[in-house]
């Protein structure tokens, strides 16, 4: 399995490397099928929709911004493909299925939020140690400026400056 990141694979595909896409398929097919299975209810339909989602993804890959989070894009395509599939097969939606579809909307949001959180954590890991430490203490451990100042033996204004700079760096990475 390739060690290349999603962004590197997307850039390679956009540059003409067709078979870099195979690595993305292998990477995402299980997650995608599980996600779609909850909307459709059977293995074969989930596999078919996953296939179609990958084809749709490949056809639109030139429009993907390789600097932005790729996984959200993948799941959004899968969701839209699954919804089209449901409309095409014109299944009657029972109340139970409707409840599952509504629950799936929040499942979709949960998956996107989880991917968001991972992306933010990776961005924090890329910061310099002093900024990373301050962000972790402030946002993840919920300490106040005074508490961080005591823990890191630094003046409180320095802590404020570190937090502000770290936020600017994260903003640049994430946007």
């Amino acid at each position: 399995m390739s060690d290349r990141s999603d962004e590197e694979l997307v850039r390679a595909i956009q540059s003409g490397d067709i078979f870099a896409f195979e690595q993305l398929v292998v990477r995402y097919q299980r997650k995608l099928q599980s996600f779609v299975f909850r909307m459709l209810g059977d293995d074969q339909s989930a596999a078919d929709v996953a296939q179609e989602s990958f084809i749709n993804l490949y056809k639109t890959i030139d429009r993907v911004d390789s600097t932005k989070k790729f996984s959200s894009y993948v799941f959004s395509i899968a969701r839209n493909t699954a919804l089209s599939h449901i409309r095409k097969t014109k299944k009657e939606i029972s109340i139970e299925d409707l409840e599952i579809a509504i629950e799936d909307e929040s499942l979709y949001q949960q998956i996107v939020q989880k991917e968001d959180a991972m992306y933010v954590r990776r961005a924090v890991q890329r910061l310099d140690f002093k900024y990373r430490r301050v962000i972790q203490l402030y946002y993840f451990d919920d300490l106040s400026y005074e508490e961080i100042s005591t823990a890191m033996h630094l003046p409180i204004n320095t802590i404020r400056t570190h937090v502000r700079r770290a936020k600017d760096m994260l903003r640049k990475q994430l946007l």
């Binding site: 067709i18 078979f19 293995d43």
Partner: protein, 133 residues
């Protein structure tokens, strides 16, 4: 839920899609290029024919004469030559020529991508042939 490996089917469909897409793009590009080349050829031929009818080429015979004659009449001859040039068709030919160059420049990146894809598709075909053998 049983997860089914769809990677092979997906890649087969993508290979077919890419074969069609690159073929269509190349066909359109060559048709566009050949059309421009033909139009350029037509304009150049019209220009040449016009100049032949006006005997403009005969003016250049001056340069086969003696050096004294050339030095005396060269500027007048050159001026007459340029006046007799069919400006409209030559300008049109220039525009078309610029279009041909522009087509190559603008599509440089795209052609590189297409070339890489074609190489990969060709290698894939060889691999499949060898597998069958």
């Amino acid at each position: 839920m049983k997860s089914i490996d769809v990677s092979e089917q997906v890649m087969q469909k993508i290979v077919r899609f890419e074969e069609t897409r690159t073929r269509v793009w190349l066909r359109r590009f060559y048709i566009f290029l050949i059309t421009l080349v033909i139009v350029l050829g037509v304009y150049l031929w019209i220009s040449w024919k016009t100049m032949s009818d006006l005997h403009t080429w005969d003016l250049l015979n001056l340069f086969s004469e003696d050096w004294e004659i050339i030095t005396e009449f060269w500027s007048e001859t050159i001026m007459t030559f340029f006046i007799e040039l069919p400006a409209e068709t030559l300008i049109a030919a220039l525009v078309v020529g610029a279009g041909i160059v522009g087509a190559f420049v603008i599509t440089k990146k795209r052609r590189k991508i297409i070339a890489l894809r074609r190489t990969q598709l060709a290698n894939q075909k060889i691999k499949s042939k060898n597998k069958r053998v």
